[in-house]
Symmetry: C2
Subunit: 353 residues, 2 copies
DNA sequence: TTTAATTACGGGTACGTTAACGAATATATA
DNA sequence: TATATATTCGTTAACGTACCCGTAATTAAA
């Protein structure tokens, strides 16, 4: 530990060199009006010369501003624990930046009720936040919500899934197509000639089906590109209860006896695993997401691979990006695709979500 | 943006409630002497009651202390670009925390010259830093260095490889055994009956051979545990030039014509890839690390899988841990194993090192 | 009892920045 | 020319914490 030498590059030094007061320096730093062209240029050149960087600590400390950010993500349901992870990321970010004068208001909606989503967006808009983090499950409603945000000049960051209307400060989430493509690549190592591949889409009517389709598209694209024997079967299941799923699955396994690989396009893979385990099928099972129930089946050896895209990070990074944009107007990557992680029984214990 | 409401939980408020000055509050906060037992307890109970958390911004700003951290890692050689990544992580951390009054001095050693390592450690000790980040390639020398650090009460963090003497503030790096175990798990999906697996260790006499052995041990353990047909061949190559490597490889491929899987236990896998490409062997190649040359061979389809453990993160996290420990005495995970990432042609573009 | 030493505490300035307020100067309007 | 209105700038008090320095009160030593 050493005594710190007095900073020779702060506003004070700039003011001294320019023969003005620090208030004037402050004005040009935030290019507010009230400074003559001459002195402004003089000060700018000195700033350049010293290549001055403001002290972020002092900046936040002195700023009497409070930033209020709102987050809107699905509530955690019995249906799926997926949204636990992004929420944890949000909470971590909250903890880290709250002492910087940031207040984070968390809003949730029910993925089964569009009205709940719309309702929450209204409440959020009324609260006039400075920035918004949004997981847009319902596309149409999200588009009109974000359109309003842009009108009101409220920056927003999307996570988990993107929107067609553009204009977000950033999208942080998966590249769905490529994650399907990667899964296919994995499968290509595992499938032998004559064996069949089953794609399983499980989603409710209300779900964002587009998600699954994109993954399937990527998956199929790989096999098309590599002229692999087209032995892909697909099943769409629009019920999410275990019974229905098992009914459909046993039916298709009777129709096709040579299925060796099963690719489930979302995190409901554990339900398929349940079926596979009970029916003692010898297949390779690939699915999505680092959920407790999925990991359990992976440890048992029923699920072979999980593809995962750091959902916790998505929440965390989303908020941090908003904060940095608003507080320091630092540049933000317009599209930040999460890495496509491959989990197996042997590396899942080391995974950081 | 809203005006911030005046903080009602700072030292000032505590002082007001306790009927003392903030200086006294400050004394008990840092439990310095000069406070009577009575007032100390009174203040402590108020701190408890308000569950006061110091404002880190103000704390760093007001502190006239400068923390000096030293980093000692291998210099970037033509031999391998591996150490580029940790260095980048170090530089990123530097950028982020230098405005918090942290000065980072970077030292480098030549992996071919033990003396250079020893020399640098001496220079570092003379500079009396407040903390050290170390990549301990030479075990014996590192042990005696870190022993001295402990004597001098200088906390140190190890990255990339651990030391037997313990006492580090934290180890941040791979679990070598498990990364080998994972690789074997992958291989188990890919190998067919009767096919041979070749383990390739390439390292110089001076290198930390222990690294490779640990991975090999994990790799073999998997096959032992799963009673897989023992068809593992192994070759140790103690020269790192392309010519020697190719000589040894072609010899072993002549001896064993049924090698279908090659597992290279470190980042020199690109040299093996070069051989495989030229000799047009049809094998699955697995190796380590996200290096340019490796990625190139992966894109070409010569290397099938790379195992990687976020070397950049290691440098970054190492410094951040040191900083947080020293500045805020926040708790640090004693062992932080990096995730074991699996890279293929199809997800490497999205990888964050 | 006087003096010295020790203990307990408060005042006040500094860290680098923000921004409210008001003063001074320049320019426009009558 | 007198007055109003912009324009340009400086003074100053915060933000929450650290810590130097001085002083009053208490205790110990003479």
């Amino acid at each position: 530990m050493k005594k710190r030498v007095t900073e020779l590059t702060g506003v004070k030094e700039i003011a001294r060199r320019a023969n003005v007061s620090i208030a004037t320096v402050d004005r040009v730093l935030h290019n507010r009006k009230g400074v003559s062209k001459q002195t402004k240029e003089k000060i700018l050149s000195i700033i350049e010369e010293l290549n001055y960087e403001p002290n972020l600590l002092a900046q936040r400390l002195a700023s009497r501003k409070t930033l209020r950010l709102a987050t809107l993500v699905p509530e955690i349901s019995k249906e799926t624990s997926f949204w636990e992870a992004p929420l944890k990321g949000i909470e971590q970010a909250d903890k880290e930046i709250k002492q910087f004068g940031i207040i984070i208001d968390k809003y949730f909606y029910d993925q089964n009720k569009i009205e709940s989503f719309v309702e929450q967006t209204k409440i959020i808009l009324e609260s006039k936040p400075d920035g918004i983090l949004l997981a847009p499950s319902f596309i149409e409603e999200s588009v009109s919500f974000t359109d309003k945000c842009r009108e009101l000049n409220i920056p927003y960051v999307l996570i988990d899934s993107d929107l067609p209307n553009g204009g977000s400060l950033s999208y942080i989430g998966p590249n769905l197509y490529h994650s399907g493509y990667l899964a296919a690549h994995l499968v290509s190592y595992l499938v032998k000639n004559g064996e069949k591949i089953l794609i399983v889409n499980i989603s409710r009517e209300i779900d964002n089906h587009h998600h699954l389709l994109k993954k399937e598209e990527g998956f199929r694209a790989y096999f098309n590109k590599h002229n692999m024997p087209d032995s892909i079967i697909k099943i769409d299941i629009r019920d999410t209860d275990l019974k229905s799923i098992e009914k459909y699955l046993s039916k298709i396994f009777i129709e096709h006896t040579d299925i060796k690989i099963v690719f489930v396009t979302n995190s409901r893979v554990s339900k398929v695993a349940h079926f596979i385990e009970n029916s003692k099928k010898d297949v390779i099972l690939i699915g999505y997401d680092f959920l407790k129930e999925n990991i359990m089946y992976m440890d048992k050896g029923i699920i072979d691979f999980l593809v995962c895209q750091k959902p916790k990070q998505q929440g965390y990074r989303g908020l941090i990006s908003l904060y940095q944009h608003l507080a320091f107007s630092s540049p933000v990557e317009k599209i930040y695709f999460m890495p496509i992680d491959i989990l197996t029984k042997e590396n899942s214990a080391f995974y950081r979500n």
